[in-house]
């Protein structure tokens, strides 16, 4: 049963929206922080950092605090924030109100991916409704405190989803990451203490406030409480966003919910958490559960929950070629290893994919991936290196088969 007007305030209210925020606004901010800490909520932007803990990093004495809502969602394979923005924007706004109250923020900024047209229209309309209803504004929800929301559109750079690049972009500067420390909780937007949270992370807050941490913890696993929006794409019968409780088997998500691999073919590989996370072989993929810890145990990450399914017909060199090309295009270009390494890696993968690569090129590829890790301003370069390393090591035979100087098994006469 799909409600075509699910994004409207009336529909949201009918479904119980803004009850939790009203409850939160009546509580002391510290109480909300405690609730969120107790709930064990972990960030859905990629790193899975405990949200309540992040909030406590804010300095005790501060004259202003900002909340930045990360709606940049540009990671290939991830499209779950988009769903919230389009279908249930008031859930997000309610989460924003709760977070603002908890961290004593009077002005939140929502940074939305530039290419998100409908989501932008929807969140903008929802914000207008919320202002008109007094849920946002100088006396937000009748609390006597102001909570303003500014929506800022990006201009098409993946890197602006990295939290400090996002801050620069909002400030009108070039969207490139800042050196850390200082961390945003100390020196963030406009130099003030700032919390950056993902859309989905904030969308969990109303449930936690309304039902309490125990109810939240009753879902999911101990280390990954709550549910998770998984974006499933690629060679799959029913691509889409699925909400599952943390801890369900990945096989169930793929085979049952998402209808199985396209055309009844066999699974070859699966990227579990967005393009930056190491690829899993079919075997590994079928053995994991959808939670942070189980995916981490394989050396990969649940990241932003972007599941890319690749069936047996997939050419893994071709797949890596697409990925490497993306990263070479999106490196902000500040750091020497990332700027030069990303382009170089993409070139070599392309050369191998075109059948012109040599054994030396493959070696170079591996050494370059190792070379770009660990000495850069942000983790973008790691996000490139990990897929490279995992593709090459887990599907080495395919890469070797592409080489121009491969040991020929069927020597042509």
């Amino acid at each position: 049963m799909v409600n075509p007007d699910s994004h409207a305030l009336v529909s949201a209210r009918a479904a119980g929206a803004y009850r939790a925020s009203a409850k939160a606004l009546a509580e002391e901010p510290e109480e909300i922080v405690r609730l969120v800490k107790d709930s064990g909520l972990r960030g859905r932007g990629g790193a899975g950092f405990p949200t309540g803990l992040k909030w406590t990093f804010l300095p005790k004495n501060r004259d202003a605090t900002y909340l930045c809502v990360n709606a940049d969602e540009s990671e290939p394979g991830t499209f779950k924030d988009r769903l919230i923005l389009e279908k249930d924007p008031h859930l997000l706004i309610e989460g924003i109100v709760i977070a603002c109250h908890a961290i004593r923020c009077a002005h939140a900024y929502l940074y939305i991916r530039g290419e998100f047209c409908l989501p932008y229209e929807r969140i903008r309309a929802a914000a207008a409704e919320a202002y008109a209803a007094g849920l946002l504004g100088p006396n937000a929800g009748g609390s006597g405190q102001p909570i303003d929301l500014t929506i800022h559109r990006g201009a098409g750079a993946y890197i602006c989803g990295e939290e400090t690049a996002l801050l620069n972009s909002i400030e009108g500067k070039k969207g490139q990451p800042r050196m850390k420390p200082p961390f945003p909780t100390n020196v963030g937007l406009f130099g003030k203490p700032t919390v950056i949270n993902n859309v989905e992370t904030l969308a969990n807050l109303p449930f936690i406030v309304e039902n309490g941490p125990d109810a939240y913890r009753a879902i999911g696993t101990e280390k990954s409480p709550g549910t998770r929006l998984m974006s499933v794409s690629g060679h799959i019968e029913k691509p889409g966003v699925y909400e599952v409780a943390h801890g369900v088997p990945m096989r169930g998500l793929i085979e049952d919910l998402a209808g199985g691999v396209r055309g009844g073919r066999k699974l070859k590989a699966l990227i579990p958490g967005g393009s930056s996370t190491p690829v899993l072989t079919a075997e590994e993929a079928y053995a994991v559960n959808v939670d942070f810890e189980s995916v981490q145990a394989t050396g990969s990450m649940l990241g932003s929950g972007g599941c890319i399914v690749m069936d047996e017909t997939t050419d893994m060199v071709w797949a890596l070629d697409k990925l490497a090309h993306f990263y070479a295009h999106e490196s902000c270009g500040q750091c020497t290893p990332c700027r030069e390494g990303s382009g170089w890696i993409a070139e070599i993968v392309q050369k191998i994919a075109a059948g012109n690569g040599t054994r030396k090129d493959l070696e170079k590829l591996e050494s370059l991936a190792a070379q770009i890790v660990g000495n850069t301003i942000c983790v973008f370069s790691d996000a490139l290196a990990m897929p490279v390393v995992s593709h090459v090591t887990k599907f080495r035979a395919e890469f070797e088969a592409h080489l121009a100087d491969r040991a020929s098994s069927s020597a042509a006469p």
Partner: protein, 503 residues
């Protein structure tokens, strides 16, 4: 103070400095490109990575402040490998056109490749990204984008020091490029500094390009003659001609910078020089010139000596002594008619004379125009182009015998009955006292041009011809006497350098 351990040795350093500066205090050089002590640290080149015990990842020394108990390794295996890898990345798209690059010989890529790279290339030349080779950024600066390592020093200089957003790092990834905004040029009055701070041959000087290879240059520390600030500079010469001027760091005066006018304020040293003494009857040997000057001065009923705020303290003092010893009745007044320019909040001072303060301290200021109106028969002008600066003075000077001690064929020298060549500041020792009362020495970099002599030597010669005794065994003796006679000059100011700026 903070105690930290640098390569196994415990050291004590002032708080609040970064690891590059802290290490430098003990002679440990951490290679770096994007860091410049005069600019905010950005940590983008990654060349300065060092190992700090307890932190798994390498850290950038430029952005890490030294802290009590920190244990830092700058030469560990991991660090050395990282440097080689960063060098490989930096050179990956570099054209390596050193044979035609002006920076060759003072290039950060050449230097660190020899010290930290020495890897075999894994790139074929035809695989490199081609970029624009000759971008006209503005009146002083040309950009070669292929050579740029995108350290953003130039961008930060414009933003933070010149205070104008003229340069920007456009595009992303491997397509990143330094550029001006569309339709705009790099034309702030300090633009030339980006040439000096560019660690590679990406930004070169239109004025200096292709003139001479830098290893042929001879250098001396000097002071800019352009205004009262007295910025510290290097003058660099080849075949006894000045080829370029570069800033010399002095944290108290000009930090690492000079203005563009100061940078170009040397052409007159190479051009239109007065090579021999000339009188109305033609050229004179130095001795004849001194005798001729003595004759004119002796025959004149009244004499006015004009001192210049462009002369050194020592020459000004010599002129005073000359008057006392040889022409006690002559009037001696200092002054200049150089039009002031607009100063700014960065370096430029309105008064374009480098030694106004010294002249005041030596008691030589006065009403120059008034003194000229008193109609002296003869005016001896030392290092001062009165007529060039104020053509309207021609009337006042008409009918007076003019003797000019001049380095160049300026308007005053041309009109003089006798002109005697003297050395410029680039050919002599001397000192100027800047507007704050800081007395700074300059040193010769050129050999005296033609038959020019230091001013004080010419004055000695004229005094001798006048039968007076005036003599200094050497410049040092003159300087000593000058500073003794005018204690307010203070002592020569040291030039506190500027940290790890020279790569």
């Amino acid at each position: 103070m903070a105690k930290f351990t640098l390569n196994g040795v415990e050291r004590e350093v002032p708080d609040g400095i970064n690891l590059i500066e802290a290490a430098l205090l003990f002679g440990v050089r951490i290679p770096h490109y994007c860091y410049h002590p005069g600019l905010s640290p950005e940590g983008n080149c990654r060349m300065c990575a060092v190992e700090i015990e307890g932190i798994p990842k390498l850290q950038t020394a430029c952005t890490t402040l030294v802290a009590d108990g920190m244990v830092v390794h700058t030469e560990s295996e991991k660090v050395i490998r990282e440097r080689t890898e960063v060098m490989e990345f930096l050179l990956r798209n570099h054209p390596i056109d050193c044979p035609i690059c002006d920076q060759a010989g003072e290039c950060g890529l050449q230097k660190y490749y020899m010290e930290h790279g020495l890897h075999d290339s894994r790139v074929a030349v035809e695989e490199k990204i081609l970029k624009r080779k000759r971008v006209d950024l503005g009146p002083l600066v040309v950009l070669d984008s292929e050579r740029c390592i995108l350290c953003s020093r130039c961008v930060r200089f414009c933003d933070e020091i010149a205070g104008v957003r003229e340069l920007v790092l456009a595009n992303r990834g491997g397509r990143s490029e330094i550029t001006t905004f569309p339709g705009r040029t790099l034309e702030n009055p300090y633009s030339g500094n980006v040439i000096d701070i560019c660690p590679v041959g990406a930004l070169t000087s239109k004025d200096f390009r292709f003139k001479v290879r830098v290893w042929f240059l001879k250098t001396a520390g000097s002071i800019c003659p352009g205004c009262e600030r007295g910025c510290n500079i290097y003058i660099e010469q080849y075949q006894n001609e000045v080829q370029r001027i570069r800033p010399r760091a002095n944290l108290d005066v000009n930090r690492w910078w000079i203005c563009d006018d100061g940078r170009l304020d040397y052409k007159w040293i190479n051009r239109d020089r007065l090579l021999r003494a000339e009188g109305e009857a033609g050229a004179h040997s130095p001795e004849r010139a001194d005798e001729e000057a003595a004759r004119i001065l002796r025959e004149a009923g009244s004499v006015l000596l004009v001192a210049s705020p462009r002369s050194s303290n020592e020459n000004l003092f010599a002129l005073k002594r000359f008057r006392d010893a040889a022409l006690p009745r002559a009037a001696l007044v200092g002054g200049s008619f150089r039009k002031p320019w607009e100063g700014d909040r960065i370096l430029k001072r309105p008064d374009r004379n480098p030694n106004r303060k010294g002249m005041e301290i030596l008691g030589l200021s006065g009403d120059l125009e008034g003194a000229l109106r008193k109609a002296p028969d003869c005016v001896l002008v030392v290092e001062n182009d009165l007529l060039g600066d104020r053509p309207d003075l021609a009337d006042l000077l008409r009918g007076k015998k003019l003797i000019a001690l001049a380095s160049n064929r300026d308007a005053t020298a041309e009109k003089a009955a006798l002109r005697i060549p003297v050395c410029t500041y680039a050919e002599t020792e001397g000192s100027w006292t800047n507007f704050e009362g800081r007395t700074q020495a300059f040193h010769p970099v050129l050999k005296a041009v033609g038959e020019s002599r230091p001013v004080f030597r010419v004055l000695e010669g004229i005094a001798r011809a006048l039968g007076a005794s005036l003599e200094w065994s050497d410049f040092g003796a003159l300087r000593e006497e000058t500073f003794q006679a005018a204690p307010a000059l203070g002592s020569l100011s040291p030039s506190p350098g500027g940290g790890a700026h020279a790569l």
